[in-house]
Amino acid sequence: MAEPVEHIAPVALGPRVAELIADGGHFVMLVGLDERSVGGDGLAIEAVVATQSGLARLRAQLPLTNPSYPTMSRMVPAAHWDEREAKDLLGIVPIGHPDPRRLVLHEQWPSGYAPLRKDVPVDRQPALGDHHFVPFEVHGEGVYQLPVGPIHAGVIEPGHFRFSAIGERVLHLDARLFFVHRGLEKLVEGRTFARALPIVERACGVCTVTHALAYAQAVESLTRTTIPDRARWARVLLAELERLYNHVGDLGNMCAGVGFQPAISRLGWLRERLLQLNDALTGHRYLTGIVAPGGLAADLSPDGLAILPAALDDIGAELAAAVRSIIRSEGVMDRFQGTGLVGPAEARTLGALGVAARASGLLLDLRADRPYAAYGELDVSTTVFHGGDVAARFHVRAQEAHEALRLVREVLHEMPDGPFRAPLAAVPATGASEVAGVEGPRGASWLWLRAGPDGTIDRLRLRSASFANWPVVAAAVPGNLVPDFPLINKSFELCYACTDR
């Protein structure tokens, strides 16, 4: 699906993206580029928008001396984190950005340090300065600040949440992430496609198939590789198993947000059974190391495939019973309903993806919109709810988990025997680039990949669904009660590692 890159003037970039989105397109990502490694002499910024007729890729060249362009965030709010990231990592300045604070590299990093530029070696460690974090605060009579994290009482990933509250009601939430930014995108530059895979798929522990799959698809497009049929079907199987254990675990986590113990343990136990099935099937509980460019790194275990149907029937019945017991609990549903509202207009403006979008009435699902692997031959039924609250996100997850079970059964029926991997067909030209998207458990995860010389990576950007959805969380919280935040947060259940990279 190689879509051509359209070159465009920096001033025209924002209006063009806004126009495409007004015509029904969806913002995919911005990627900042250093063109010097592929024969250029400056930097560039590329906007990717998903339209009805495929991806629109708009690239604006920027001079090295003053790499700036008028911000698009005021027209396209979904781009506002992308713009801040390109500014931190490449020094590309969006002029007039509504929130020019640091995002990825916090304030202690020296100004002018732009690690993704090609002249910065990967092992450079600049001296860190003092930490001058300026949170967004609301002032006024009776308004108080509540700083939470980045170290939490529970074992969860690091994030700092600054609440401005009046009594128990939240006026504003400022979320500060990227405490575990590991520079993965810099780390893969110059590596061969095969050697980069372990890094890309470990961007996050619970979205490994999603990331490996997006990466493999981008590499296969670049190398014009066609993968064997068995691998196409097996990829659907793996992607749905990943969705299933995530959704089952997240349904349980939502119950933890209201302290509803019976469902927490019941769903936690189901999730554990699913992880054990993953292990039986692939040798890894979190499905790491199975998807590879060209197909699969190894065939699925016949023993694992043999026990799958009966185990899934059992899990399906148990899941249905658990979900029923939650819906029947008045105490739980009272907490879920009306909490953490995100309206359809807000969801669309902020670029919500996945469960977050589909619970707010947006029909977005890459499995249907831009089919990959064997999804084109399957009839994926996409669940949409219109409530926009925690309850809607609960129902979307519950139904998607059952749909995942159905799809897995269908794959088991349809998957042909045969080879599971094809060699990469060609070495891509230096500077050739591809964009691939996968509908992960939290929504569409997009990967932008440009080839360097001899089958290496020149630039990779991973924009996970969590990255897209964090600003939606921050928008869902104001007006709710402080103790409802954990519940709202868990109803999105976003990854920090996927976001921070």
């Binding site: 108080y144 600040q145 509540l146 700083p147 939470v148 939490h152 009482a153 529970g154 074992v155 128990e168 119950c255 947000g257 209201v258 302290g259 509803f260 113990q261 019976p262 927490i264 343990s265 019941r266 136990w269 609990s329 105490g331 739980v332 009272d334 907490r335 009660l481 402080v482 103790p483 409802d484 935040f485 954990p486």
Partner: protein, 315 residues
């Protein structure tokens, strides 16, 4: 006199030694209802020992109150516990105070704990304090109304007398009015001891904490003392319920048979409370915090109706 000394000593030793065990029972019940094995019943003792050996970390903002608070909180609960008859019909500190003093001591402990949580100057302590105090304004009237029902029935606010009258009355003690008061007390007891649906005692979610929020800044021996006080408070609340609303089995003399019956009855009552709280924890979701006033007002209403029935509908 020697007899009441023996009974008093039994209550003192029993409550002080067994309080952590009740926490263990609640946790065990909760674990079993979740198909988990759960920690050992002795785990609360080990936790206390662990905290006792650790160092106390103190906020730079803390005043001497932080150091004094655990002692005051514990002392208020200990004294209150000895004002409630749990083994003998006469409490260990007979004549030192009636149920109003017990309620006052509970309020004193809460007040000092809330102050000490503010003392550290962190946001969570302040949040816990403000929630605790907001809830206390609804808990205390309900507690008073509920216990007033029993006091009115016995024509005395002295807990020993209430238990004595109740035990002597036999089944005729359990009038509809008293059952209403008992129901009010049961609701208040859940809030007072920090269990679901009011609070999740095992949560790690800082933003949802009430009582736990006030303990976040405590560490080492101070945390051990405050946790022990919370464990003892569960015994106190259960004992208070037993004395006022279920006065059976309390010993009038120190004869071995009566002592055995009294110990068995009290253990059953207190363990029953621990099991009930475990079941609540394991089966209910936490209420929205702004819905709590509704629940606690219900308790007050039950208590008030109990009193009204007693006053205007003589049996």
């Amino acid at each position: 006199m020697a007899g009441s000394l023996v009974l008093g000593a039994l209550q003192v030793a029993g409550t002080l030694l067994l309080a952590p065990l009740l926490f263990g029972v609640t946790k065990r019940v909760k674990a079993r209802l979740q198909y988990r094995r759960g920690p050992s019943l002795l785990q609360p003792y080990r936790d206390l020992a662990k905290w006792w050996r650790k160092e106390s970390v103190e906020s730079d903002a803390a005043s001497p109150l932080t150091a004094a608070a655990p002692a005051i909180v514990l002392a208020s609960v200990v004294v209150a516990t000895f004002l409630v008859p749990m083994v003998g019909i006469v409490p260990p500190l007979d004549g030192w105070g009636d149920l109003l003093v017990v309620i006052g001591l509970l309020a004193l402990g809460r007040f000092v704990l809330a102050l000490s949580a503010l003392d550290a100057g962190s946001a969570f302590g302040g949040m816990g304090s403000s929630r605790e105090v907001a809830i206390a304004t609804l808990v205390e009237p309900a507690l008073l109304l509920a216990l007033a029902g029993a006091a009115l029935a016995a024509r005395s606010t002295d807990l020993g007398t209430i238990a004595g009258v109740g035990q002597a009355a036999g089944l005729s003690w359990y009038t509809p009015a008293l059952l209403l008061s008992a129901a009010a007390f049961a609701i208040v007891a859940v809030a007072e001891t920090g269990h679901e649906p009011v609070e999740n005692p095992d949560t790690h979610l800082e933003l949802t904490m009430i009582h736990e929020g006030m303990l976040l800044e405590a560490s080492g021996p101070r945390l051990a003392i405050l946790m022990y006080a919370a464990e003892l408070k569960l015994v106190l609340v259960a004992g208070l319920f037993g004395a006022a609303f279920l006065p059976v089995g309390l010993a009038r003399t120190a004869s071995p048979v009566e002592i055995l019956v009294a110990l068995g009855a009290t253990l059953a009552k207190v363990a029953g409370a621990a099991v009930a709280l475990g079941i609540l924890d394991a089966t209910l979701a936490k209420m929205r915090i702004l819905a709590l006033p509704g629940l606690l007002t219900t308790a007050s209403l039950l208590g008030a109706v109990g009193l009204a029935v007693r006053l205007w509908l003589p049996s």
